[in-house]
């Protein structure tokens, strides 16, 4: 990246009692970049974002935003924090929620209401601006929460799981909003456990597990470096009766230990798909397992996570394979 470093996190740790939430994390984010923090729940992403937002103080290490300590209230004017849950006041209207946070950002005067309405319009909430938030759906609340993040026109956006719980259509529209903000020159730190989201949006990704960054780089770079050459996705005609036995039979054809099974779908990391795929099919047929579809695809960040941690991410949980 050619742009200057605008966020620097150096050797930051945070523990709560005996539990280490963040363990010696270091990274730098450049201006105008989308930096993904990818990891399962409990990986330490929210704690890390809370420290960058100045809510929590690190036990050790340093976080600076354009050279200023993150705990300095002046840096908070430049940061917009969007928490994981759509935390808004149900008994206020959408516009009143916006006006409240505008006040907290030091904004006052007649133009503030206009700015709030503009943001609500951008999020598709313009016609609901005067309605109490308790009448909003979950998706509308999430969009309102996202609009609130933008109220102070921050240079750096800290987005904590911004699309969790959204349906695919709304999730896609939020992604578009995030990419539009990047085009406007915003720097975005995106904490997510959705591999696809990190892959699609991030310029660079840090994969977090158990409070540590286990790998960092561009999505493509990570896939090339840590991922298998190809992935075979097999959809079975009916769920396997003995999945563990099936995995053991397929493992010899896989690259590393890269065999996963769940929801009637088998995913195998392979180095030479053209040679291996017919053998996998034969093995499955021999076991009496019916096949519905078979696809040879490129690896994703999920495959990278599996390779690095030995565990698989499914939705909100981590599963061992």
């Amino acid at each position: 990246m050619a742009a200057d470093v605008c966020l620097m996190v150096r050797d930051v740790s945070k523990r709560f009692g005996d539990r280490v939430a963040v363990d010696g994390v270091s990274f730098k984010v450049h201006g105008g970049e989308i930096y993904g923090l990818l990891g399962p729940n409990g990986a330490g992403k929210t704690t890390l974002l809370s420290m960058i937002a100045g809510i929590l103080e690190p036990d050790s290490g340093e976080i600076s935003i354009d050279g200023l300590n993150a705990l300095n209230p002046r840096t908070r004017r430049r940061v917009g924090y969007c928490p994981q849950d759509p935390i808004v006041y149900d008994n206020l209207t959408g516009l009143e929620n916006m006006m409240f946070y505008a006040g907290l950002h030091g904004l006052s005067g007649g133009h503030v209401k206009r700015r709030c309405r503009e943001l609500l319009d951008q999020m598709g909430l313009g016609e609901y601006a005067g309605r109490r938030v308790k009448t909003y759906s979950g998706g509308m609340k999430k969009r309102l929460s996202f609009a609130i993040t933008l109220i102070g026109d921050p240079e750096i956006l800290l987005l904590d799981e911004p699309t969790t719980g959204m349906d695919p259509r709304i999730r896609r529209s939020v992604w578009e909003s995030i990419l539009r903000l990047k085009e406007e020159g915003k720097t975005i730190i995106l904490a997510t456990h959705y591999m696809e989201e990190a892959d699609e949006l991030s310029d660079r990704v840090a994969i977090m597990d158990l409070g540590k960054i286990v790998a960092e780089g561009s999505p493509e770079g990570l896939k090339n470096r840590y991922g298998p050459k190809a992935v075979i996705d097999v959809e079975l005609s009916k769920p396997a009766i003995e999945p563990e036995a099936m995995i053991e039979k397929i493992k010899p054809y896989a690259s590393g230990d890269g065999v996963m099974y769940g929801d009637g779908k088998l995913r195998v990391h392979v180095d030479d798909p053209d040679i291996v795929s017919p053998r996998i099919v034969s093995e499955l047929v021999r076991m009496g397992v019916g096949l519905k579809t078979l696809k040879i695809t490129t690896p994703t960040l999920e495959d990278v996570f599996l390779r690095l941690t030995g565990r698989r991410l499914i939705g909100d949980d981590v599963e061992r394979h």
């Binding site: 809510i55 209230p73 940061v79 935390i87 206020l92 006006m99 907290l104 800290l158």
Partner: protein
Amino acid sequence: MMWSAIKAFIVKELKLTFRSKASIFWIIAWPAIWLLMTAYVFVPPAAGQPMTLKVGVVNYDVGSTSPFNGTTFIQILNESEYRGVKLFQVKVYENETLMLEDIRRGRLDGGFTIPEGFGENIIFGQARLKVYVGARSLQSAQIAESILRGFIQGLNNGISMRKVNETLRYIEIYSEKYMPKNLTIPVAGNRSWLDFMRDWMIGLASPINASFRDVKPKAFVERSSILGWQTFGAIGMSLLYSGLIIGSTMAVREKEAGTLRRILASPATSTDMLVGKTLSGLITLGIMSAIIVILGVYPCGAKIIWSPMNPAHWLAIILLVLVSIMVIGIGMILSLIARTAESASNLSVVLGLMLAFIAGIWFPKSWLPTWMRFLADIFPATWAIDGIRSALVYGATAAELMPTFLKVLAAAIISYLIGVFAYKKTLRKYVIA
């Protein structure tokens, strides 16, 4: 501090408060209910007027030919009035058993049994009369006894005077035969023998001729002043629980709503939140106090004095602000032990009502047991409310109010500072959680 953030907190808190049905209940409905009940049930418009006792009479002196007999006694009972109100509502019974049964059942405040020969005995000696004191309610027992004793005392004096006058009339007629006409008594200032005898016998009948006159402060006898006292009692009670709720839930509500992290991530500081929420709390308590005063004065008829030119009245308003700050501070201290907004609210309501009832804010100190008066004597909120009452109900001057003002000011500063310490500690705890 950032004014726009403080203003944002004030506006947000006021909107949330006045949109919550629970808040409206506690801020307006609850004190209004108490005040209206006080005005129309405990201190009804008829309060202050003499009481009429229900009494029973059993008259065994029915055949008497004496000029004063049992029937005369009943007639006097029926005709006795005080300030234009009949003292007794009389029910005549055939026998004592029936009357006593009704007294025991609380149907009568008292009763009289007039024995046979009552009339003759009054004229020629001493008549016996049985008086029974009952109680239709706990409050009326003492009053009933006082009225009955007072009535008998008055009747005794009246009869004595009549007997003295009658005796003197006979003495005057017959003494001419046996006593020198110009006899004087040297030890009695050489007064005539007849004048001396008159005074001597009147003295025997009634040694002290006491005259009673009501010179009690109006505050204690006028319904409007009693209601003025109670109006500030209602304000004090509401300030206590509402102020405690405002203080104790200041941080925990934001934590439970999930908004605390977002607020702390904004350029606003925790001090902005503290100041904004305290100011909105003071505005809420001010609105609540104004509503209670309006309710007290208009539908209830409370007497509250107000003159913008009187410094004591402004001092009373400042006292109201100080006691609010003090109670919010105590509420913030409570937040150290209350883990949820619900538990903080419940604790605040229980503690607030309890203090209002036992610390001389809602009930006068004189009603409390001696050991409980100690709490009223040391509780700064009681000082403040009593100070406000003394200025706005009883017309105390600014100079008279000043010692109370200084004590409440000190208490408010100390409570709020400890509260701020507790608030900061609570915030740190919540951020880590």
